[in-house]
């Protein structure tokens, strides 16, 4: 990808004012370095989605010219977009990183987790994720979560302490003052760290354009076989769609988020370039998750409930 969009970083009032992207970048880098300085075994959650791709890009810049001092962890739902898995493996190889994979399918095959009637596997990620964190003794886990995504996430700290069961208690969060992040934790506990807390979807896209970051192809408009369920275009596949009465058709679509195929919807789009994607997002009247995530619509507090259990 080349950067041709009007996402100018240098336009500022005085020479000492940072552009908003530079300010967000500097803050995120500070967060990565704090974790590198204070924790023993940090890991970056990496799904091959745009937020985790931006996180990795920031980590690469934060420690340049040295290597990123963290490994990656992918929670594999078993319902992946092939382009995204290919991107994941290519990226890991290119930067000489170590990748851990926690597999939902393994848990289902072993009978530890049960397939849900609706076929959605996003909520099933919590157990493989938290067990892998415990098994590997990860003490800091970077997530790409942004506070603009969802109202429970708007309450999330940058450093979020999780107990030995990986649970989040929103009423017992540590106040976060200045940029003095408190990562103290007991053995068995860990801290979730969100370097993109203050970024919006548009910030992420503008940053991708400015930095010329490569993305999986599914983020750009392409022809795809989809069918409609609950107002969303889902990709037909071995995970269980379409069902009776749902018809497959070929449409020009792209994805705004990358998640489990069973609950991540595509949007109609002809945006084939970064410029076109940014124009489309700036004009959209729907939030990213509202447009394309079925799992957040399960109840008013779906995200809060999953986060309490250990979801990221």
């Amino acid at each position: 990808m080349t950067t041709t969009v009007a996402a100018v970083s240098g336009e500022t009032g005085t020479p000492y004012t940072l552009s908003h992207l530079d300010a967000l970048e500097s803050e995120a880098v500070h967060i990565f370095r704090e974790v590198a300085g204070e924790f023993e075994r940090p890991v970056i959650l990496f799904s091959g989605g745009k937020d985790s791709i931006v996180m990795l890009h920031l980590a690469l810049k934060a420690f340049a010219p040295a290597a990123v001092p963290f490994s990656l962890l992918h929670v594999d739902t078993g319902h992946n977009f092939p382009e995204v898995l290919e991107y994941r493996d290519r990226t890991v190889a290119r930067h000489g990183l170590r990748l851990h994979v926690a597999s939902v399918q393994d848990y289902i095959d072993r009978g530890v987790l049960r397939e849900r009637p609706d076929g959605t596997r996003n909520p099933l990620q919590t157990v493989p994720l938290t067990e892998r964190i415990q098994a590997e003794k990860f003490d800091a886990v970077f997530g790409g979560g942004r506070r603009d995504e969802e109202k429970a996430r708007a309450k999330e700290r940058v450093f979020s302490l999780r107990d030995e069961f990986s649970q989040w208690d929103p009423r017992r969060q540590r106040p976060e003052l200045w940029n003095l992040y408190n990562g103290r934790h007991a053995p068995g506990e860990h801290v979730r760290v969100f370097p993109l807390s203050n970024w919006t979807e548009l910030d992420v896209w503008q940053y991708i354009a400015r930095e010329g970051i490569d993305l999986p192809e599914i983020y750009f408009a392409h022809e795809r076989e989809v069918f409609q369920r609950a107002g969303m275009w889902l990709t037909a596949g071995e995970w269980g769609g379409p069902k009776d009465g749902e018809t497959v058709e070929k449409r020009l679509v792209r994805y705004r988020t990358v998640g489990d195929m069973s609950c991540t919807g595509a949007v109609d789009s002809d945006a084939t370039t970064l410029d076109a994607v940014i124009t489309e997002i700036a004009a959209s009247r729907l939030t990213e998750r509202g447009a394309t995530r079925a799992d957040d619509k399960m109840s008013e507090a779906a995200m809060e409930d999953r986060k309490r259990e250990g979801y990221f």
């Binding site: 970083s9 004012t17 370095r33 934060a62 040295a66 003052l177 124009t279």
Partner: protein, 444 residues
């Protein structure tokens, strides 16, 4: 329908601000109005609010539902914790720390104000300046938030009378100026009707100033470097030890204040060793100079012992190091802070053991009176504290640097963040400051 078009995306500065106001002052309505009228509420969010409002039998959409994210908040209809909101106009991006107004959540206002460059304080035009208003002004002054906006709300309920607004603005400005708040802007609004929030009011011809949004869009956010001492807390030492970079040794950190230039003589604190800056890497790119709040890596002439926790400063402008710190603090934990308490103190990137030697006074925010030697501070208390640290720290006065003049106290047993600390004098009093507990002035 779009908020921003691609051509308008060049407006790229960022303003962090916080709101403060009591439950009934209409803070949620103001925040909802700002988000709604700046077209920052997207269709699916508004639909969700409309759906829940309707299911509760409310007539219109309850905009407070946009900002109350937790189950308990929605159930109780109150805001418990700070939430962060994001919106943008063609002129600027905003991060709003939406803080609860209850007295018992003073700590949350402190949290929100600690990173804010501006605070909006709401008052009800019918009630004028009340104790809660003074409390909010005092916290903004203590935290040294550079800009304060007084939003006199519910002007529609006082017949849009200029006299009402003028009296409140005058009383507040006198009070806040005495506390040392550097810049105060008073704006008459009706958050419910939408007067002077985003759109100028047709009901108040006598008001010639900006709307709330216009002011947020134009208030300066640049860092006044002329008065800043350069400071770099070392976060991490970068040593690739690769064939390509066998000898690279860089000191990474976010510049807390001021500017560093290649060629500067710098001193490492607390050791006191001196060397020269031979290079500055700005996230992989070499630059001649860098300033706050950039995250950088400094390369130095001499291979001296420097590690995480050290502070790099210009040799000609080094702060004194001390093991005895006197500060104004806000206690943010449920367990009290007592004299003799053994704690950890995090300052910049350094965490050291410390002991609470004395709590000379506690402040009553309502009237700024002092209670000498309270013995302990409980949640939401603000007071003066003397702390002895196990190692000498290079602390600045909070008045000079919000970053290197602040610290947190941590409970070593369970890691709880106990207390937020600001080194040095508390309020920027225009009077000479005396350090006597009996003094009933602004120093305490």
């Amino acid at each position: 329908m779009s908020t921003i078009t691609a051509e308008e995306l060049s407006a790229t500065t960022l303003l962090r601000f916080a709101t403060a106001g009591s439950v009934d002052d209409g803070k949620s309505t103001l925040v909802g109005r700002l988000l709604h009228d700046s077209k920052s509420v997207l269709t699916d969010q508004l639909e969700a609010v409309e759906r829940v409002s309707a299911s509760r039998g409310q007539e219109g959409p309850d905009l407070a539902l946009l900002t109350d994210g937790l189950r308990a908040e929605r159930e109780q209809g109150i805001t418990i914790d700070v939430a962060y909101r994001y919106f943008a106009t063609t002129r600027r991006r905003f991060i709003l720390a939406d803080t609860p107004g209850h007295v018992q959540y003073t700590r949350n206002m402190v949290t929100g104000a600690s990173t804010a460059e501006l605070t909006v304080i709401l008052v009800d035009a019918r009630n004028g300046v009340v104790e809660q208003t003074r409390r909010h002004a005092a916290i903004a002054a203590l935290l040294r938030v550079p800009h304060v906006v007084l939003a006199v709300n519910k002007m529609d309920l006082v017949a849009y009378e200029e006299q009402v607004f003028a009296r409140i603005a005058e009383e507040f400005t006198a009070y806040a100026s005495e506390l040392g708040v550097p810049e105060i802007t008073a704006i008459p609004i009706s958050a419910l009707v939408g007067d002077n929030v985003v759109e100028p009011s047709a009901n108040m011809d006598w008001y010639g100033g900006p709307t709330v949004l216009e002011h947020l869009e134009t208030v300066p956010v640049s860092h006044d470097l002329a008065h800043c001492h350069a400071r770099l807390p070392v976060q991490y030492v970068i040593r690739p030890q690769t064939a390509e970079h066998p000898d690279y040794r860089g000191y990474a950190g976010q510049i807390a204040a001021g500017t560093f230039r290649v060629g500067d003589s710098v001193t490492v604190l607390p050791s006191g060793r001196t060397t020269k800056v031979t290079g500055i890497d700005l996230l992989g790119k070499p630059v001649d100079s860098a300033h706050t709040p950039q995250s950088v890596t400094l390369l130095l002439a001499d291979d001296i012992d420097i590690s995480r926790g050290d502070l790099l400063v210009p040799s000609k402008d080094a702060p004194a190091t001390t093991q005895d710190i006197e500060a104004t603090v806000c206690h943010v934990a449920d367990q009290p802070l007592t004299v003799g308490h053994r704690v950890l103190l995090k300052h910049g990137t350094r965490t050291v053991k410390a002991i609470v030697k004395d709590i000379p006074s506690r402040l009553t925010l309502d009237d700024l009176s002092l209670h000498p030697h309270p013995g302990q501070l409980v949640a939401n208390d603000i007071g003066r504290v003397k702390v002895r640290t196990a190692e000498a720290l290079p602390v600045d006065s909070y008045a000079d640097s919000r970053r290197t003049g602040s610290f947190i106290l941590i409970d070593p047993a369970d890691g709880t963040t106990l207390t937020a600390g600001m080194v040095g004098e508390s309020f920027a009093s225009p009077e000479p400051v005396k350090d006597e507990a009996e003094d009933d002035g602004w120093d305490f």
